[in-house]
């Protein structure tokens, strides 16, 4: 009896591992990033770049910004732990957050209004850390957009009055 139970648990464990590996393969493939973009990335993996772009575009919509490259550059200057947390957060939004609002596909495969539902869930989440995570992503996206001179003009904001810039 004990041997049967052990065999059953072994089978269950193997099947679970295969299932999760399959899910990971299916949910973790199909990210299209140009070679040129891949070559520019220093911190983000290509799939993370795609996710950050998708999150960022919904946050700054209807405008657009180079959120992916901005976040990659910003993450370079972060302390190791902060960088790990940011990358973990990106994975959470892509894979788990959609499931929490009843949507099967990963974040980057959702329609824009579905993505907004996911972001709203994050923003208004009863768990403080989830809200805090959203606030961090929002801050990065806003930084990526509102650092641009074109954005200043659209706001009617004068921008810097000194002429020098490190960029």
């Amino acid at each position: 009896m004990r041997a049967d139970r052990r065999r059953f648990l072994g089978w269950l464990s193997g099947a679970s591992a295969a299932l999760f590996a399959g899910i990971a393969l299916v949910r973790g493939s199909g990210y299209v990033v140009s070679e040129a973009a891949r070559a520019r990335l220093e911190v983000l993996a290509p799939w993370q770049f795609v996710v950050v772009e998708a999150i960022g575009q919904r946050i700054v919509a209807p405008e657009r910004a180079d959120v992916g490259f901005f976040v990659d550059g910003f993450a370079r200057g972060l302390a190791d732990q902060d960088r790990d947390e940011l990358l973990g957060l990106i994975g959470f939004v892509e894979q788990l957050a959609p499931l929490a609002v009843g949507l099967g596909p990963r974040f980057t495969q959702l329609l824009p209004d579905e993505q907004d539902r996911v972001l709203a869930w994050l923003e208004q989440n009863p768990v403080g850390l989830v809200r805090g995570g959203f606030a961090a992503l929002k801050a990065l996206a806003m930084m990526a957009y509102y650092r641009q001179d074109e954005a200043f003009e659209r706001l009617g904001y004068g921008g810097p009055v000194v002429r020098w810039s490190v960029r």
């Binding site: 961090a136 929002k138 650092r147 706001l155 921008g159 009055v161 020098w164």
Partner: protein
């Protein structure tokens, strides 16, 4: 000349009478005072040394340069953003230059309830005066009040509330409005402009890009520090050790506490790092018909003290002033995302912003995270969050009284009020953790002073109760919140208490 740690090629061991950790208001003043007394001083700063030409007035460029953790530091629960300076001059490089003395009521409270001696209003009065003279502190003239501050003044006048002009330490100000990103005109009469050069003139060594990791001690006496010089990428490049007869800890209420804990300072009554006050603030926006362009001109030149009663346990403990942000800061503060958020941003030139900062009685704790960085645990008590919610309602009242068409409370979800009758619908819960964006720029109280070693980390002289030769001269000292910006009080206490440091090394 300021030496740059990032240029050190190999391990260094230096000798000094006093090593000062941190070059903000407390550390720079200590370096200046001590070197003037003939004390051999080495002052160390973790951040870089910036000059006016480094200040580009761009948020994305300056935030990572001027602030700890690139401006992203927060409490452990991510509910409150905690901003602190990280460069020669510390937070005085990016602050708004507000100069409010420690109120007499607070000094009396410290003496009465916290066993603080020798720091009465009478004793500190002449020291405040000398500091204000040296830092060119003066009231901002009404003619230089910008539109955002005029909104606050208008609201205060219309409601018949208590309010008035504020004092700043600035000379030759161009009114560009970029103070929190550093001043390219060198108008701030701060630690970096006034005190560090004075210390250098009197023989002090000031070294940037050196992170102090330990206070060297034998359990009874401080003997110096050990640390690392940081390269341009922030990674350690060389060990640094300073042997000294005394150590002055002036790395802010967060940094000093972390260093104290990491150094395993004697702490028999478990006071170290505890008692943290953040003086947290929230912002409320008002939409006006006229253009406010709050980013222009001198910020925070007017205050409202109607709801600021410093009596312990008071229901009214908020200080209100203006808080305009440049676009990134404003975008982060405004609630929501996408089109709804964008709609508010497009009204940016017509928005005025007020902030309510809480004279907090909640106490948090600073400890060391696994990676060696600060872990800040702080949760507002119910009475504190209720008091802060009163501040939110007061801001809304002031904005409507000043003529706002609509008022936005940037909570989650956002509260948009179209008439003053709506103000009472703002719930007390709005200021619970994560209820609305909250920021803290005035951390205090993690190495409190007082003559009772069971309740305080350092004596009223600033010297550690158990560790001879270790002094604390920054905002960590404050036994309570002071209900306002702490910088002038830090300068003053540091000047006043530096004589005890000098005495300790035989230069009294």
């Amino acid at each position: 000349m300021i030496e740059r740690g990032r240029l050190l090629g190999r391990a260094q061991t230096w000798q000094a009478d006093v090593v000062v950790v941190g070059t903000g208001a407390g550390g720079a003043m200590a370096a200046s005072e001590l070197s003037r007394r003939g004390v051999r001083v080495i002052a160390l700063e973790e951040g870089p040394s910036l000059v006016p030409d480094d200040m580009t007035q761009r948020e994305d460029e300056m935030m990572p340069k001027l602030y700890q953790d690139r401006g992203g530091r927060s409490t452990a629960d991510l509910a409150i953003r905690v901003l602190g300076g990280r460069n020669v001059g510390g937070s005085t490089v990016h602050n708004i230059n507000l100069c409010k003395r420690i109120p007499d009521a607070i000094l009396e409270l410290w003496e009465r309830d916290h066993a603080v001696s020798g720091l009465s209003a009478d004793e500190l009065g002449p020291v405040f005066e000398s500091v204000e003279r040296d830092l060119s502190v003066s009231e901002i003239e009404p003619a230089r009040r910008n539109a955002n501050n005029r909104v606050l003044e208008r609201g205060v006048t219309a409601l018949g509330w208590r309010g008035g002009p504020l004092k700043h330490n600035r000379l030759g100000c161009q009114g560009s409005g970029f103070c929190e990103l550093g001043c390219p005109y060198d108008a701030k009469q701060n630690a970096a402009k006034v005190l560090i050069p004075d210390a250098l003139d009197h023989g002090a060594r000031v070294v940037s890009d050196v992170r102090v990791t330990r206070i060297v001690h034998d359990g009874r006496r401080a003997r110096g520090i050990s640390g690392v010089a940081l390269g341009a990428d922030g990674r350690p490049i060389a060990d640094v050790r300073v042997d000294a007869s005394a150590v002055v800890l002036a790395g802010s209420a967060i940094g000093s506490a972390v260093l104290g804990v990491a150094s395993a300072l004697p702490d028999p009554f478990r006071n170290l790092g505890r008692g943290l006050h953040l003086h947290p603030g929230v912002a409320v926006a008002g939409l006006f018909d006229e253009r406010i362009e709050g980013w222009r001109g001198i910020p925070q030149s007017y205050e409202c003290t109607e709801l600021l009663d410093l009596t312990p346990g008071s229901a009214h403990r908020v200080w209100i002033t203006t808080a305009f942000a440049h676009p990134i800061g404003a975008a982060i503060m405004l609630p929501g995302f996408g089109a709804a958020h964008r709609a508010w941003m497009l009204r940016y030139p017509n928005i005025a912003v007020l902030t309510a900062m809480l004279h907090d009685e909640s106490e948090g704790q600073v400890s060391v995270a696994r990676d060696g960085r600060p872990r800040i645990e702080y949760v507002l008590s119910l009475s504190d969050s209720t008091a802060l919610a009163r501040g939110v309602r007061a801001c809304a009242r002031l904005l409507f009284a000043a003529g706002a068409r609509r008022v936005l409370v940037p909570s989650t979800p956002a509260l948009e009020l179209s008439q003053r009758e709506d103000i009472e619908s703002i719930p007390d819960a709005v200021t619970r953790p994560h209820g609305m964006a909250m920021a803290a720029v005035h951390p205090m109280s993690t190495l409190r002073l007082g003559d009772d070693p069971r309740r305080a980390v350092v004596k009223s002289t600033g010297e550690h109760h158990q560790l001879s030769g270790l002094f604390v001269l920054d905002g960590s000292l404050y036994p309570t919140s002071i209900g306002g910006p702490p910088q002038i009080g830090i300068y003053t206490l540091s000047r006043h208490l530096s004589r005890f440091v000098a005495e300790r090394v035989g230069r009294g």
